[in-house]
């Protein structure tokens, strides 16, 4: 009989701690999902940018050795992601396949030029830098003409920027909401303990001594919450992968380390700091204002 109210009180304390942790973890989960989107948006835009093709057409009478030298030179540039040499014959074969018609026998000669297909690193796929790159290549020996589509590149860049800005704004907003929500939840918990904090002060405990266990508990709460949030995020990612396999790779370990590190860090920092501020509030409070 004696144990039952005790048990009840402990149960009640535990359930309030659990709901705090769940509250924090849901907010962290939202932040985490958004971070996945941001991280992947960058990757997606990188993929699009790296698939922009610049065709370097070569002079009609260029020698095989010159082509190899030129390809090597371009390969050595920092902006280059990959180059492929497409000879006259290969280009003809490709076009024949595409058209479904043997145009060489129809024309009597091969009008196509040999070319090097250049794909840029994402960082250089900007209209201004592309212009510079193109100019540089056009001035080289054995190059007849460089062809690319400036409009397409402009559009891609504009859209990527827009999406990035929207996501960034959204993340900032969500982070603010997260801090406000977690702060509020923790303040309520500490508020319910304000008389205990006061009693502790009255019996001669220093502020630091009173704060320490609260902050430790706050940090642990943040840790538990981020652990739950990470499990939820993994679940959602797994479900998404079942539907859209190309959305991301599970093998990208660095991204996951970053993501989960971010979630855990945010959880600990927000929870720990909120606890600190909430406890301090009552440590400083005048006795008559506590009621």
């Amino acid at each position: 009989m004696a144990a039952s109210p005790d048990k009840y009180a402990r149960k009640r304390a535990r359930s309030s701690a659990i709901s705090t942790v769940i509250g924090i973890s849901l907010v962290l989960f939202m932040l985490g999902i958004l971070s996945v989107l941001v991280l992947n948006a960058r990757k997606l835009s990188d993929t699009v940018k790296e698939n922009i093709q610049i065709q370097v057409f070569l002079d009609e009478d260029v020698k095989e050795a010159d082509v190899i030298r030129l390809k090597k030179e371009i390969d050595a540039e920092t902006f280059t992601r990959s180059t492929t040499y497409v000879s006259k014959e290969e280009a003809a074969k490709q076009l024949t396949e595409d058209l479904g018609e043997d145009f060489i026998s129809f024309l009597g000669y091969n009008p196509l030029q040999a070319a090097i297909d250049l794909r840029l690193n994402a960082d250089y796929a900007h209209p201004d830098s592309i212009e510079n790159i193109v100019e540089g290549i056009e001035n080289r020996e054995a190059v007849a003409e460089v062809v690319y589509s400036p409009n397409l590149i402009k559009q891609i860049n504009q859209n990527v920027n827009k999406i990035g800005l929207v996501l960034l704004g959204f993340s900032a907003l969500l982070l603010l909401i997260a801090i406000a929500l977690i702060n509020n939840t923790i303040r309520l918990t500490i508020y319910s303990k304000r008389f205990i904090i006061r009693s502790m002060q009255l019996v001669g405990a220093t502020r630091g001594f009173i704060q320490r266990p609260f902050i430790f508990a706050g940090i642990m709460q943040g840790l538990y919450a981020s652990f739950i949030a990470i499990l939820l995020i993994l679940g959602v990612l797994y479900a998404v992968r079942m539907e859209i396999p190309e959305f991301f790779e599970f093998t990208d370990i660095l991204m996951f380390v970053k993501l989960f590190g971010l979630v855990a860090l945010l959880g600990i920092i927000i929870s720990g700091l909120s606890t600190l501020f909430a406890v301090r509030r009552y440590l400083r409070m005048d006795a008559r204002k506590i009621y």
Binding site: D6, M200, L202, V203, G204
Partner: protein
């Protein structure tokens, strides 16, 4: 200040916020004194005690408790002032989220005790003194008002303080327990400590006293009192 002086207030005014509660307070308590603080409810007894344990600031006059100058007391020093005092609060101020043992343990750890065996022994000692030796595992809300009060007394004894401030420490106790607690406090005062006790209990007051401080009409009078101990 004389060596055996513990409390020395000179012309102190006690304010609750901006409201003047007591003025021209002159109190002198030496080691070995057992002092009653009497007065009607609302006459400023608790405020006077609060001044002594640093809850209310001394803005006018001079005040010393032990080695602490109350007029220059900084917020950071307050915990250390309170460690030299044993305070029995009117509303107990027990930590309601933990059992009696953990309440006592908190105070010991907060005041720098480290050795677990010593702490356990000290806790048992003070609980035995107030007759709660077997109730250490109970939560405060499982105890009666009188038992909670005795826990508060036990807690005040933990650090063997020079001065015990008790705000109606026998208010919830039956006559027998009251006498036990008073005996306990009186013994403590005879061992070179001092006790300042706010009370309404005029019956027991006659039994033990050295002098009486009376709060009335926002001033304080000290009366030397008649017969000594039991």
């Amino acid at each position: 200040m004389a060596l055996d002086t513990i409390v020395d207030l000179k012309n102190v005014s006690v304010f609750q916020g901006d409201h003047l509660v007591l003025s021209d307070v002159n109190i002198h308590i030496n080691k070995g004194d057992f002092v009653y603080l009497i007065g009607k409810t609302g006459s400023g007894k608790s405020s006077l005690l609060k001044t002594l344990y640093g809850e209310l600031p001394v803005k006018q006059g001079e005040g010393n408790v032990g080695e602490f100058d109350l007029t220059k007391l900084k917020r950071k020093q307050v915990p250390f002032l309170r460690r030299n005092l044993g305070i029995v609060f009117q509303d107990f101020e027990l930590l309601t989220d933990r059992n009696v043992n953990d309440n006592l343990l908190f105070v010991l750890r907060a005041t720098g005790w480290k050795n677990k065996i010593e702490m356990a022994a000290r806790m048992q000692e003070v609980l035995d003194k107030v007759g709660l030796g077997t109730k250490g595992y109970k939560m405060p809300h499982e105890l009666s008002g009188g038992e909670q009060q005795r826990v508060a007394v036990a807690r005040a004894l933990l650090n063997d303080p020079d001065l015990i401030l008790a705000d109606e420490p026998t208010g919830n106790l039956d006559p027998n327990t009251t006498e036990e607690i008073l005996n306990l406090l009186y013994e403590i005062s005879k061992n070179g400590r001092a006790v300042l006790m706010a009370t309404h209990d005029y019956v027991h007051m006659k039994k033990f006293s050295s002098h009486i401080i009376r709060c009335a009409d926002s001033s304080v009078q000290t009366e030397e009192v008649r017969q000594g101990a039991i």
